[in-house]
Amino acid sequence: MAEPVPKPLVKIEPGRSPAAAQAVESYPVEEIADKARRGRDALYPFSDLDAYGRALLGADIARRDATRFSTLDELVLLPPIFTPRRLEAMEALGREPYFSDVSLETTIGGFRSRLPLTMASMGSTEAAHAAGAALGRGAAEAGIPMGLGENVATVWGYSTRSQARMPSFKERLFAYLDRIADDRGGVVIQQSVEDATDELWNQVYTDPDVEPFVRKGLIGFEVKLGQGAKPGLGGETKVSRDVARSLKGTYYFPEDPEALDRDLYERHSAPGTYTEAILRAQLRSLRNNFPRVRLWIKAGPFRDLLSLFRVAAQERIDAVLVDGKEGGTGMSPAIALKDLGLPALACLKRIADARVEGLRTPYVLSGRLYDGGHAVKALCLGATAVAFGRPFLIAARVGGEAGIRNFLESTAVEMRMLVSSLGKYRVADLASEDVGSLDRALADALNVPFVYA
């Protein structure tokens, strides 16, 4: 049996803060790890004898959920008996369709993708960065787009390693680009306020090694307007003293690494100041400066998401990723986890509203989404794709690239099964008719049936 999944994957130390520990403890690590180990076999509780026995005895195989707000788990998918789309599929195939006939191939923000799924941007924090190479190779081989988070170049070096034990920005970038196949996927690169000081995007855009991939349309830049776990706050993490010293002038350190001797130092980056006019001008100047890359926006769970969606549509942004308050692996203050921002399901409601308004920008939803059910429900309500973060970290820790491959294979099978059960064979056909709510207030808000009514 493979080794157990170590807790440090999730960067909050249990015990230090009860609220944070609760969020960590409730995460279905083992469930994801099992998929990463065993691929599609992990989809069935009875796939080995021992588990079969326990499942029969009534062991808890339900997904744990300790959050106090509504999640996508309060929605169910509603397969119908009468399935005109299945008839269409049957006509095309000349036989009864199976779940394996579902096409998951899609386009997300200008990139072709084998699944309606992206690897969420993971940045410079050590848990993500140390696994960076496996993450990049895994996503590239799976043919899905990958985000490359902020501060990586500033903290770990652009092409030369700032710390011998850690990869540089370009090593992470090319872990992906070197494995890209059939021009599926693409890399979306973030730039923090601090990265901007070093002109990261300009450096990427003028890099002869990256140029062929720019030309093929496989590079995007992602304007980060916040993240799920801490909307309105900048990036927070902890770094060692030598790292802190080298970054002292660029980030905010409450404790001076020159003057005080500590194991770790809090490192804060600025959230960035925006008005609608500033954002619009910034997006335009990005289009001007980097006409050959895709432009994505990553938004945190802000109350004015719909206004942002309108600006993004007017400025022809390639995709907007919306990260619900459950999202983010970095060091977030427990009070932020508890009290800041909209849950992912509330973000999905804004996406559904945007569709009603006729906005056509691709939206990618993230925030504690980790299985095919979450993905299909999000798509039913208007998302173009979903982004997973932590599941990939767990899968990479369990089995490296193979872990990611297995995890994605099982997730893809889950999606195919669910989509086909709805009598549909293309993800584009999913609609709000396919989903119902277990809660009446939620049903009203999302304009979907209350299943008990």
Binding site: Q191, V193, E194, A196, T197, E199, N202, Q203, Y205, T206, P208, E211, R215, V223, A270, G272, T273, Y274, T275, A277, I278, R280, A281, Q282, L283, R284, S285, R287, N288, N289, F290, P291, R292, E315, R316
Partner: protein, 306 residues
């Protein structure tokens, strides 16, 4: 080549003649500084290690000339600039990594003043080329059309309409892409202006029209016959609060521009000005295929050359 360089030297003389005659003071150009112009369309700034701190090689000396105009009124310098351009610019015929622009700035001037000054300068150089360089140009088989003042003016929106009629759709809000600009320039036999670019399409220092939010008080002057951009100019933002908000368009922390912001906080007068690329002027006057033919030891994006 020798002929091109002789013509270039003579064009430089004509530029100085005109500006000196208008009461401008020529200053020595700063080459390095803690910050430089971030509004350089995808190019990367060149950096040097300045005693342990990173300094920038001027991508343009815009920030300095604004301050110098505050002190001396009418100023200009022949400013060497370095921009590590994206590789795609290697074949546009219009981009050099190292080039010289004549940076002109005038305190108290408006957009209209700057456009007239640019027009006057180009018309003077044009006349100089026709009367004093006629033989050299004839020997290269180059004939210059007229340059009758005032030059034609197109608002940005009108320029997009012209392009649209030619089958090129440029989305509102972006600077006109190079190949579209070339096509537009081919429609004209004499130099012409494009003015009033929308906010976001240009550098943070181009002033937003207080009466028309979202619209900048700026312009380009374009050569005809497909040669494209000659001059970029504008009235400048000079009020601290406006500049700090505009600076966010670059996505940077304004603290980086500390010295500049300190000056603005103390207060500087409004000004307007422009820059004219010397190699592009030479290319146009001589009718050269590419701008790299218009200077000694040219540096083109990604090409290793002496």
């Amino acid at each position: 080549m020798q002929r091109v360089l002789r013509i270039q030297a003579s064009l430089g003389t004509a530029i100085r003649e005109y500006l000196d005659g208008q009461g401008f003071t020529e200053l020595l150009p700063p080459i390095i500084g803690p910050v430089t112009d971030p509004g350089i369309r995808g190019a990367k700034q060149a950096t040097i290690n300045f005693y342990g701190r990173e300094y920038k090689v001027m991508s343009s000396a815009i920030l300095y000339k604004q301050m110098m105009a505050a002190s001396l009124g009418r100023v200009y310098f022949f400013s060497p600039n370095v921009r590590l351009e994206p590789l795609e610019t290697a074949t546009t015929g219009r981009h050099l990594v190292e080039f010289v622009q004549v940076d002109v700035e005038e305190a108290g001037a408006t957009l209209e003043d700057a456009m007239r000054r640019a027009e006057g300068l180009v018309a003077h150089v044009w006349e100089h080329a026709k009367t004093r360089l006629g033989d050299e140009l004839a020997a290269s088989g180059r004939t210059l059309n007229g340059a009758s003042v005032p030059f034609r003016r197109l608002a940005y929106g009108e320029a997009l309409e012209v392009l649209s009629k030619l089958g090129r759709e440029v989305p509102y809000g972006v600077e006109i892409p190079w190949d579209d600009e070339e096509l537009l320039s081919r429609q004209f036999r004499e130099p012409f202006f494009i003015h009033d670019y929308p906010r976001g399409s240009r550098g943070f220092y181009d002033r937003e029209d207080p009466d028309r939010p979202g619209m900048l008080r700026d312009f380009d002057l374009l050569y005809p016959e497909g040669y494209g951009e000659a001059i970029s100019g504008a009235e400048r933002e000079f009020e601290y609060a406006k500049v700090i908000a505009r600076l966010r368009e670059t996505g940077e922390n304004p603290s980086k521009y500390e010295w500049y912001l300190d000056m603005l906080r103390e207060g500087i007068p409004p000004s307007a000005g422009f820059g004219i690329g010397v190699e592009r002027l030479t290319r146009f006057v001589c009718g050269l295929e590419a701008v790299w033919q218009a200077r000694p030891y040219p540096k083109v994006a990604g090409v290793f050359s002496p």
